[in-house]
Amino acid sequence: MLLLILLLLPLAGALALYPLRHNVALAKQTAMGFALAEFVLVVVVWFAYSVPAAEAGTRFQLEFAVDWIPAFGTRFALGIDGVALVLLAMTAFLVPGLLLFSWNEDLPEGRTHSGYFALLLATEATLMGVFTATDVFLFYVFFEAMLIPMYFLIGRFGGPRRQYAAVKFFLYSLFGGLIMLASLIGLFVVSRDQLGAGTFSWADLQRAAANVPESTQIWLFLGFFVAFAIKAPLVPFHTWLPDAGAEAPVGAGVVLVGVLDKVGTFGFLRYCLPLFPLASQRLAPLVLTLAVIGILYGALLAVGQSDMKRFVSYTSIAHFGFIAVGIFSFSSQALAGSSLYMVNHGLSTGMLFVMVGLLVVRGGSRLVEDYGGVAKIAPLLAGCLLLAGLSSLALPGTNSFVSEFLVLVGSYPREPVYTVLATVGIVFAALYVLWFYQRTMQGPLRGAAVLGALERAVPAAAAAGRSASAGGPGSMLDPGIAARRDSSGFPDLSRREIAVLTPLIIGIMVLGFVPGPVLDVINPSVVATMNEVGLADPVGGTAR
C-alpha cells in the first residue's frame, strides 16, 4: 500500500498542476510540495524496509498486488528489494533539487513552469512504477509510459535542436521497447508451457527459468537486452543520448542521464540475470565486450567534446560501461558495486550536469571554448564543479570511488582481462575531467561567453558606482578582477543555487566515507540475485 501511494503521489501532483497552470507561482510551490512529500514518503519506506528480513530470504517487501488483466496473467503487483529501494531513494532525493534549480530557469517562448514541473513529476511517477513493479508486464507498461513525459520535456523545453533530439530519443526507445515486447510475449508463451498457465509474475517466472532451454533463453534474453542496452545505453546503441542530453533542459537532463538511464542497468540486474540465467552466462562475453568498448570509447569522445552537455553525456556512457561490467561478471561484490554505482552516478553526474547548467545560464553558450578562467570571478562555482568532476572520476573520498573499486575488485577474479581493460578507463576519466576543468575554470579570463557576460554588465556596474567591498590595495585580489566579480555579469553561486547543490555535495561526501548503510540494504538482494543466476561467488564474502 505504501508503494502504491509512492506511485500515485507524483502523478496526483502532476495532475494537480493542470488547474493551476495559469498561476505559475502557486503551481511551482505545489509541485515542490508534492516532490518533498514524495521524498518524505521514500524515507518512510526506507525505514519500513527490513534488512534482516531480506537477509532471511524475503525477495520483495512491502508488496501490494491486485488482479489486473487475468486473461494475460498479469497482476498489478508492486514490491521492492534493496536495489530498487536505493534507486527510489535517489530519484526522490534528486527531484526536489531539480525543481528548485529550474525555479527561475528561462524556458522557450510560450512555455510555462507549471507544464515543465508537471512533466517532471509525471516522469518521477513512471520511474517509481518501473522500480517497484514485480510483474514483468506492469514493468513493461511503465517502461514505455516513461517515454512520453520525457519526450515532451525534451521536445517542448529543450535547446535549439530539441525536436530532432526528442524524436530520436523516442524512436530509439520505442524500437527497443517493441523488441522487448516480442520477448515479453515469448516469455508469456514459454511460461504457459512451463507452468500450465501463462503468468507475468516475476517470482513465478524466475522459478520456472531454470527449466527453459538455453536456446529459448537466448532469444528472450536478446529482446530484453536490446531494450535495456538502448536505455542504458551501451555502445552501439548510444547515439541518442548525447543529442537528448545536450538538448534537454537541465532538470530533465539530470532525470534522463541520472535516473532514467539507470532503468537499463536496473533491468539487466532485475530481469536479464534472474529470468535468463543460462543465456546471461553464455552471452556475458558479448556484453562485457560492449561494456569495455563503451568505457574506452565514451571516455575518448568525452575528451574531444566541445559541447559541455554532450561531454557529460559521454562521461555517462563510460560510467554505464563500468556498471555493466560489474553486473555481467557475476560476483556479489561486483553486483553490489554496480548497484551502488547506479546511485553514485545519479548523484555525481547529476551534480556535474547541474554545474554545466549553471555555466550555461550565465554565459548562454554550451561550448567549452566560450568559457575560461571562471574560477577567478566565480570561485564557489568553480569549486563545486571541481568536486563534481572529482566525484565523476572516482577520487578516493568521494562516493564513486567506493563503487568503482567494488566493481573492479569484484570483477577481477572471474574476468581479469576485461577488468584490466576497464581500469584504463579510469586514467581517461582523470584526463577528461581535469582537462575540462582546466579549460573552463583556470587561466586568464577568456572565452566569448564569459567576456560577453562581463561586457553586458559593465554599464550596470558603472551606474551603481564602484563597489568598495573587495579589491584595491592591500587585497590579494587583482582590482580589475574584483570589480568584475562584483559587477555580477557572471555572478558566483546564488543562495538558491547553493541550496540546490548542498544536498548533492553532502550526498557525495557521505556516500564516499560511510557507504555502509546503503551497502547493507543492497547486499541481501545482490546475494539473492547470485542465487538466482546459480553461480557461486568467486571469492566469497559480500561487499562491506
Partner: protein, 532 residues
C-alpha cells in the same frame, strides 16, 4: 382462390424456424432503415433532420438493448437460425455490439451541424457552376429548411448508414456464402453513395465514390467467382459443408484453393488489407470526414468478422495449405501501410495507410485458428474502431475556409491554438502506435500473443518492426502539433457541438478504458467460439 390453392401440387415447403430473439437487433436496424426511407419520402425537408437523428439513435439504442438482453439470456454455445443462414454465437454478438456502438458514434458525427454549418452533406453542386469557363446564374438552391431557417443537410445519409449497418451485421453473422454475398452488397452500396456526398471538395468526393464503386464491384465479382468455385467443390454454399467436404474429400484441391483465393481477394478488399488496399487512401481522403469515420471503423469490423468466420469455420482444417499465402499478404500489408504511410502529407491519407498496417496486424490474429486468436482479433477490432472514430472526429474539427484542413503542414502549432484538441489527438495517435495504457497496446498484445503461440514468431517480429516504423509518422503529427510554430493563416479549430463532442469523448474514454482495465471486454471477446 381456395380451389386454385388446392389444385396446385402440394409440395410442402418447410418454413424455417426463426429465433426472433436472436436476430432482433438485425431486424430492428433494417426495419428502422426502411422507416427512414419513408421519412425521407413523406416528411417536409425542414422536419427530416430531427426525425432522422431521433430515429437512428433510437433504433441503435433499441438494437443494443435487445442485443444485451439476448446476450444475457443465451448460452455460450450459440445457435443458427433462418435455415442455418445466420449464426448467432458469441463472436457474432460481440461484433454486433461493436458495430452498433461504433455506428452510434458515427451517427453522432454525421448528425453534427455545428462543425460544418448545415452539416457535411449535400447532394447537388452548390450554385457556383461554370459553363464554358464562365460562371452561370443558377436558380437559388432550395434550402434544406423552412425559409427563415439556416439550410440543413441532406438527410439520406441516415437511411444509408442504417442499411450499411444492417449489411455489416448480416455479413459477420452469415453462415453461408450466399447470405454473405448479399450482405456484402447491402453494406457496400450505401457506402459508395455516402462517399460522394461531401459539401466541400465535391470533385474529390465524387472521384472517391466512383473509385470505391468500381474497385468494390471488382471485389464483389471476385467474391462471387470464388463462391461459384467453392459450390462446385463442395456442392453447398454453407460454411460447415465446405469444411466437411474439405476434410473428407479425395477430389482435387484445385477448386477449393482457387475458390478460397478468389474469396479472400474479395474479403481483403473490404478489409483494406494490402496489396488490395489501393482504394483506401483516396476514399478516406475524399469522403466526408464523418463518413470516413464510419467506413474506417465499421467496415473493418464487419470485414474482419467475415474473414474470421470464413477462415475458422470453413477453412480451419485446411489451414496449412493456405496459411503461407496469408503470411505473405500480412507482411505486404504491414510493410506497405507503415512505409508508405511515412511519405504521406495528408492526415486522412496517413490514417488510411495506418489502417492498412493495422489490417496486417489484425490478419495475424485472424490467421491463428485458435480461441486466443479469435478473441484477440475481436478485441482489436473493438479497440481500433473506437480510436479511429475519435481520430476522425478530431480531424473534422480542424478547418480552414475550404473545409477540413487535412494537410499536415496546417496542423503545425495546433497545441498553441487548442491544447485540448492537440492533447486528445496525441493520446489517440499514441493509441494507434500501441503505447501501453491505451487500448492499442492491449489489443496488439492480445493478437501478437495469439500469433506467437500459434507458431508465427517471424510474423510477430515483422509486426513489431513495422509498428516501430509506423510510430514515426504518428510521432510526426505530435511533433508538428507541439513543437512547431503555428502558421499565420493556419486553420481554426472549431468548437464542436454536443454531438461531435459526445462522439470524441466516447472514443477517447473507451480507448483509455480498454488500455487500463480491459478485462471485461477481453472476457466478452473470449466468451465462446463459432457455431456452424
Amino acid at each position: 382462390m381456395r380451389l386454385l390453392a388446392q389444385t396446385a401440387p402440394t409440395q410442402p415447403i418447410d418454413v424455417p424456424a426463426i429465433d426472433y430473439g436472436a436476430i432482433a437487433p438485425l431486424l430492428i436496424v433494417l426495419g428502422a432503415a426502411c422507416a427512414a426511407v419513408l421519412v425521407e419520402a413523406f416528411l417536409p425537408r425542414h422536419q427530416r433532420w430531427p426525425v432522422q437523428v431521433g430515429l437512428s439513435v433510437a433504433a441503435l439504442g433499441l438494437a443494443g438493448l435487445s442485443l444485451g438482453l439476448y446476450a444475457g439470456s443465451a448460452g455460450a454455445a450459440g445457435i443458427t437460425t433462418l435455415a442455418d443462414a445466420i449464426a448467432v454465437d458469441r463472436p457474432t454478438l460481440f461484433l454486433w455490439g461493436t458495430l452498433i456502438a461504433l455506428t452510434l458514434g458515427s451517427v453522432l458525427l454525421i448528425a453534427d451541424r455545428s462543425v460544418e454549418p448545415g452539416g457535411a452533406f449535400v447532394a447537388a453542386l452548390p450554385a457556383r457552376a461554370m459553363i464554358g469557363g464562365r460562371p452561370v446564374e443558377l436558380p437559388p438552391e432550395r434550402g434544406y429548411g423552412s425559409p427563415e431557417q439556416a439550410p440543413t443537410m441532406q438527410t439520406e445519409v441516415f437511411p444509408f448508414t442504417l442499411f450499411a449497418l444492417g449489411g455489416m451485421m448480416t455479413f459477420c453473422a452469415a453462415n453461408d456464402l450466399l447470405t454473405m454475398f448479399v450482405a456484402l452488397e447491402v453494406l457496400s452500396l450505401p457506402l459508395y453513395l455516402m462517399c460522394g456526398l461531401a459539401r466541400r471538395r465535391r470533385l474529390l468526393s465524387q472521384e472517391a465514390a466512383v473509385k470505391y464503386f468500381l474497385l468494390g464491384a471488382f471485389a464483389s465479382a471476385f467474391f462471387l467467382y470464388g463462391l461459384a468455385l467453392l459450390y462446385g467443390y463442395a456442392g453447398s454454399v454453407k460454411l460447415a459443408d465446405i469444411a466437411t467436404a474439405a476434410a473428407g474429400s479425395t477430389r482435387t484441391d484445385a477448386l477449393l484453393l482457387g475458390g478460397l483465393a478468389l474469396l479472400v481477394v474479395g474479403l481483403m478488399f473490404k478489409a483494406s488489407v494490402g496489396p488490395f488496399h489501393t482504394w483506401t487512401p483516396d476514399v478516406y481522403q475524399g469522403a466526408p470526414t464523418p463518413v470516413t469515420a464510419f467506413m474506417a471503423a465499421c467496415t473493418k469490423v464487419a470485414a474482419f468478422g467475415g474473414i474470421l468466420r470464413v477462415l475458422y469455420v470453413a477453412f480451419g482444417d485446411s489451414r496449412w495449405e493456405w496459411r503461407g499465402v496469408l503470411w505473405a499478404i500480412a507482411i505486404v500489408s504491414m510493410v506497405i501501410g507503415s512505409v508508405v504511410g511515412l511519405t504521406q502529407t495528408d492526415v486522412k491519407r496517413m490514417v488510411a495507410y495506418s489502417s492498412v498496417a493495422h489490417a496486417g496486424f489484425l490478419l495475424l490474429g485472424a490467421m491463428s485458428i485458435t480461441e486466443a486468436g479469435t478473441s484477440g482479433t475481436l478485441f482489436y477490432l473493438l479497440a481500433y474502431g473506437f480510436t479511429t472514430i475519435a481520430v476522425f472526429g478530431v480531424i473534422s474539427l480542424v478547418r480552414d475556409a475550404g473545409g477540413d484542413a487535412t494537410h499536415l503542414s496546417q496542423w503545425a502549432g495546433l497545441a498553441k491554438r487548442s491544447p485540448v484538441v492537440a492533447g486528445v489527438m496525441t493520446f489517440l495517435l499514441l493509441a494507434l502506435a500501441g503505447i501501453p495504457l491505451t487500448s492499442g497496446f492491449t489489443a496488439k498484445f492480445a493478437v501478437f500473443a495469439a500469433a506467437l503461440d500459434d507458431g508465427m514468431a517471424p510474423l510477430v517480429i515483422v509486426a513489431l518492426v513495422t509498428s516501430a516504423i509506423a510510430a514515426f509518422f504518428y510521432l510526426r503529427v505530435i511533433v508538428l502539433m507541439y513543437f512547431s510554430e503555428p502558421a499565420e493563416d493556419g486553420p481554426t479549430v472549431v468548437v464542436p457541438g454536443a454531438f461531435t463532442t459526445a462522439a470524441i469523448t466516447l472514443g477517447v474514454l473507451i480507448t483509455l478504458l480498454l488500455g487500463i482495465a480491459p478485462s471485461l471486454a477481453l472476457g466478452w471477446a473470449a466468451g465462446g467460439g463459432f457455431v456452424s
